[in-house]
């Protein structure tokens, strides 16, 4: 084990990343990872509330054929063409899942499984067939190229893109806060208030495609799923209010980014993966210690209740015995 886990030094672990000659890299990487993680997390809160968590998983896979098609047409792997391709693929995924759901007895979960794997398989076949025309860096898709932002001079375009996606996500949520809230919890009320629930749904799916695409270049395709769901799930363990959950999601994203960054540097491992593990750790802490829903506070509460019942039973018995003896 000692071969893979390097010795631990507080200095190396905590202070060095923030020392003057390393600060620039640290800030860039953390900013990039935070932007990606926070925008995924914010969208993820709504996915969890609408029980669409696995649609996030599905879309993060099924954007592949859209990206490949867009890349074949536009001869590039960045920019608006790819985003449009991803949105179209995300839309197709949503529509296919819904039509299988509506027009057959196959349930939603199976429909999700069928659609995303079929589209993904199609994407893989397209990639292998047109491999010569595409210049896709495989490691980037698996592990992400998070560290790349550190090496680019000036303001890296990936960081600008991730930052604008985060900003746009916050603005969209602010603007449509009520519509998203009502349509997530009470579709009937939403209709009666004149909110177009279907448009909100498709808009959310389109925005999910955008966040997924801009995120997976940085952190890898499957890590995206973790970043979509874990922050929101942690936040929803801690609060019942939607706006608090959104704030907590951003805090979770920031905390897991910073902690994961340090752990990743110490272990010299893949940074996004370390951030996900840190986020998972925070989730477990919330699961155990959340004041309202945590395992421990609830167990303590149950124990207290049991003690009280026991005490009261004893008191009641004593009272009756006293009454009888009198």
């Amino acid at each position: 084990m000692s071969e893979i886990i390097p010795p631990f030094h507080w200095h190396l672990f905590l202070t060095e990343p923030w020392s003057a000659w390393y600060l620039d890299t640290t800030l860039r990487v953390i900013a990039m990872a935070f932007c990606v993680s926070a925008s995924c997390g914010l969208v993820g809160v709504y996915l969890i509330l609408r029980r669409l968590a696995l649609v996030g998983d599905a879309i993060s896979h099924s954007v592949l054929p859209g990206i490949v098609l867009a890349a074949l047409v536009a001869h590039t792997l960045t920019g608006p063409a790819i985003i449009i391709g991803a949105i179209v693929a995300g839309f197709v995924t949503t529509v296919l899942i819904e039509s299988i759901d509506h027009h057959s007895r196959v349930k939603t979960d199976a429909a999700i499984g069928i659609v995303f794997s079929a589209l993904f398989a199609l994407g893989v076949v397209m990639v292998t067939m047109f491999a010569g025309d595409l210049h896709i860096d495989a490691d980037c898709v698996l592990f992400g190229n998070l560290a790349e932002v550190a090496t680019q001079p000036g303001m890296p375009p990936a960081l600008i893109q991730a930052g604008s996606v985060l900003l746009a996500t916050i603005l969209l949520i602010g603007f449509f806060f009520k519509d998203l809230l009502v349509s997530a919890f009470d579709p009937t009320l939403a209709r009666s208030l004149g909110i177009r629930a279907r448009w909100i749904h498709y808009g959310l799916m389109a925005w999910l495609s955008v966040t997924v695409v801009s995120a997976f270049e940085a952190v890898g395709s499957i890590i995206v799923v973790a970043m979509l769901i874990i922050p929101g799930a942690t936040a929803l363990l801690l609060t019942d209010r939607l706006w608090k959950a959104l704030v907590l999601t951003v805090i979770h994203a920031a905390a897991s980014t910073v902690i994961g960054y340090h752990v990743g540097l110490w272990l010299d491992s893949n940074l996004p993966a370390a951030m996900v593990v840190a986020g998972l750790g925070l989730f477990v802490i919330a699961w155990l210690f959340s004041p309202s829903q945590g395992l421990l506070p609830r167990a303590i509460g149950r124990q207290r209740l049991r003690d009280r019942l026991e005490r009261e039973k004893v008191e009641a018995r004593e009272t009756t015995e006293k009454a009888e003896s009198r």
Partner: protein
Amino acid sequence: MAGLLLLGMLMAFPTLAQAARIGEVSEGNVLDRAIRFFSFRDPTVRIAVAGCVLLGLCCGLLGTFIVVRQFALVGDMLAHAVLPGIALGYLWTLSKQPLHLFLGAVGAGIIGAIVVSLIRQTTRLKRDTALGIVLGGFYGFGILLITLIQKLPGDKSGLKSFLFGSAAALSETDLGLIAVVSLVSLLILGLLFPQFRIASFDPTFATSVGIPSQAMHYLLMLLLAWAVVSALQAVGVVLVSALLVIPAATAYLLTDRLHRMAGLSMLFGMIAGAAGAFLSALQTGLPTGPFVVLSASALFVGAFLFAPNHGVVPRWSRQRHQSRKIRRENTLKAIFHLLENEGSDVAEGKVSHQALVDQRRRSPLLVDGEIAALVRHGLAESPDEQGRVTLTEAGRARAMEIVRNHRLWELFLTNAANIAPDHVHDDAEKIEHILGEDIVRELERSLDQPTEDPHGRVIPLAMEESGGSGI
């Protein structure tokens, strides 16, 4: 994304690229390759095809139980959650011992399944969120471990090939593993089929009759983890869940019986496996997994469109047939009403075109079409020069039946269900087309052979009773 990975991997590890695809073991054009494939001369092809077919069988069987339990994406979760187990299995001996990798993977899969259950039982988070947390979180942990392992000396390329492997890279050991897993799954599910059936559809009832449904759940998870791990080698992480879900969902569209569904699902799994292996052998450098999935998806699309009971096309044509029948019967009824009222527009048992247009409240063109449809079905005679219509014997009989159904139902609703007479028409308007002979007799009996409906109109007698002169 696994495809991009595969691509990168083949560039990065040329050794892996040598026989990583079925299509690479033979040369020549498509026809030559097809012939070569079916001759089964190459041991690689033999093993790959046997592996794919066996996997299709095994995953089809297990998939049946997760699809009917609406737990379909558990396969996807397991496929990702086994990753840290594979990495730990490697760290155990620091070599690619298949047994250790296998044990580690199955262990991680089971822990993942337990964590999903725990999250669901102890928090308010729903199943899909729980699956997503375990899927993403465990995968992240696995990637962390694998990047750590990358720094170690030694042969590690196999770890990645374990993840994104292809059927042609299957060894005889792997095939043996798949065969054992398939056999064990078949045996266990075959022996415990009744118990699994009850536990799948009604866990509460299962517990009440003494079936340990919790234990059955984890047994199924264990079998699934085995199947997923042995399938990773052939089709890769992302596409394993497809092998579990698609054949079972296809079978679900075709039958209502669980044992038939399991049989069909295994059959579709095997067909998809064989077809995928064949298709990927047609050209150099084609991966097997995606073709297996695409073949399975093609079968699903076929069933989705054309399944006799649940298919979109048969259902659509049934609906069309039914709505046409209803339209014909409504026209018949309109003619009958006109004849019954014997207004100025009725002469010699014939109804004028204009009267029918007024009665149906449709455009003359549509009414023309409706009359033509009646004539085609032998229910009305062709209109005369003035465009007047009369019913044939059969048409009159059917019209009387419909009106009779309508009025009987109205009477039934007023008498038996105590609904006000002015509220019963709309309901009767719908049900008149679907009341069968038996129910009509039943109604007559319970209403004591009535002759008038609640609005005071005569209920026409059935043809044979009235001696064929109803109108």
